[in-house]
């Protein structure tokens, strides 16, 4: 689907208005920056490599945490989805641990891991574990029962039923859970960096704030937004390609 470029009209107009307004009123501020200044700061950061370094650090920690926590959540979710007894036994633990706000674990993580990627990965992993666990479990439980009957009628043993029917049927929803978790991983990673970890984009953001450079601050916010959007768009494109036929109603739109 080609994006409707007319949608850019309003943001572009707002930019122009902001630029004009700030120039005309001779605004000098520690908290605001003109759009042109923001663009300039971003360009500068790109040129001198600082934004790439920070992005690399954030992405590394976020994706590693996602792989660890999300991966564990996926495996456990598959098990809980397939085994009713395991699901019943685990419900209490899941419901007690899940609501713990992940950012509240930052101090604990810092005690255990100290500064650096480790503590960030730990917090991201904890945060990504839950959506993958719960959504994978739901995806497995919600496999079309008629398909399971077909598998029974054809005489497939339980393992074949899982590999040929349950897993392929649950995969589209599991992928959507993965897309969600990628977004979460990025947000939590940057948050940990803002709060405690002296590396990555969040830390660069704090630096910009403390050195009273609003142009760089907005530039970094914009950059983080672009990164998130890029990741999301890339994953959505993958989803459309891989699961075009598996999702009900075709591509399922922008879910």
């Amino acid at each position: 689907m080609k994006p409707d470029l007319r949608g850019l009209a309003v943001p572009a107009a707002l930019m122009v208005l902001a630029e004009a307004g700030m120039r005309l009123n001779q605004v000098q501020s520690d908290a605001l920056a003109r759009p042109t200044e923001v663009a300039g700061a971003l360009w500068q950061a790109v040129r001198d490599g600082s934004v790439w370094l920070s992005s690399g650090q954030t992405l590394w920690a976020a994706l590693a945490g996602l792989a660890l926590g999300g991966g564990l959540g996926l495996l456990l979710g598959l098990w809980l989805g397939l085994s009713r007894r395991a699901a019943q036994a685990s419900t209490l633990s899941v419901e007690l641990l899940r609501p713990v706000p992940s950012v509240a674990l930052i101090p604990l993580s810092m005690l255990v891991f100290g500064f650096g990627s480790g503590m960030e990965i730990a917090v991201v992993a904890f945060t990504c574990f839950w959506p993958m666990l719960i959504l994978t479990q739901a995806a497995v439980r919600q496999v079309e029962p008629r398909l399971l009957e077909v598998a029974q009628m054809l005489g497939f043993p339980p393992l074949a039923r899982v590999t040929k029917i349950v897993l392929p049927a649950a995969l589209p929803r599991i992928f959507m859970a993965f897309r969600l978790s990628v977004g979460i991983a990025l947000v939590v990673g940057v948050t940990v960096e803002i709060a405690a970890n002296p590396q990555g984009l969040g830390y660069a953001l704090m630096n910009a704030q403390q050195s009273l450079r609003p142009d760089l601050m907005f530039a970094l916010v914009l950059w983080i937004g672009l990164m998130g959007w890029g990741l999301s768009a890339g994953l959505l494109a993958l989803q459309h390609r891989w699961f075009r036929h598996s999702l009900p109603g075709g591509t399922g739109g922008q879910s």
Binding site: L147, Q152, L171, H245
Partner: protein, 275 residues
Amino acid sequence: MTAALARDTGQRLALVQEAPDTPLIVFDNVALDFGARRVINRLSFTMRRGEFVCVIGPSGCGKTTLLRLLTGLVRPTAGEVRRNGQPVTGPAQDVAIVFQDYAKALLPWRTVAGNVSLALEAAKVPKAERAGRIRALLDKVGLAAHADKYPGQLSGGMQQRLQIARCLAQEPAVLLMDEPFGALDAMTRQTLQDEMLQLVEAAGTSVLFITHDLEEAIYLGDTVLALRPSPAEQSSLAQTFAVHLDRPRNQLTTREASEFLRLRRAAFDYIKETH
């Protein structure tokens, strides 16, 4: 055909063929409860090899349940369901079922060929053989040109044909069909009725066909079983109609035959009685 060993007077073993008209399927005084509700009561009938039996009745009379009793996915509360003389305990390789909701019974992530392949994989057919058999089956149901399409890209009639192809891949002795054409338009329904009759006749398959359409039941079947809902103390089987119409059936001439019209009238009377 099953064979039975028998000793003659000289104490020698001799192979004796069982009588050729031993029923393939026997429902022996079958009852089924869902919780406190008795859905099927005192149901007894037999099905011969190669016979085409249609089951009609209003919603909730247990037509689908009857089918499921034959699959072994449901066990009777009382009585016995026997196939080839043995009680039915679970799904068998040579019993295939065609569901009404064909979209839900097909694998959306596999192509048309892949869906048919599923049955061959279950039967552990060697990989090298599969392609040829899939092609032959798709030819039979007229989907050869669509082998690489996905179920989501097919029309309703084509999806149902695909399901039938997959069932035929099991080379079933018994084909169970649960209102398979109910969700299709009238023209597709007629086409598929005739195609299906050809296929089962060529293979000698026994068919149990559920439908709510009286005329379809008479057109297709050798025997029509009419069930009654909420049987209470009576038998679930309200009436049995034997259909003595020529084969092969023809959409125009068979439906105008006097026997067809007589059966149709009798079936209508039964419907009035049970509604």
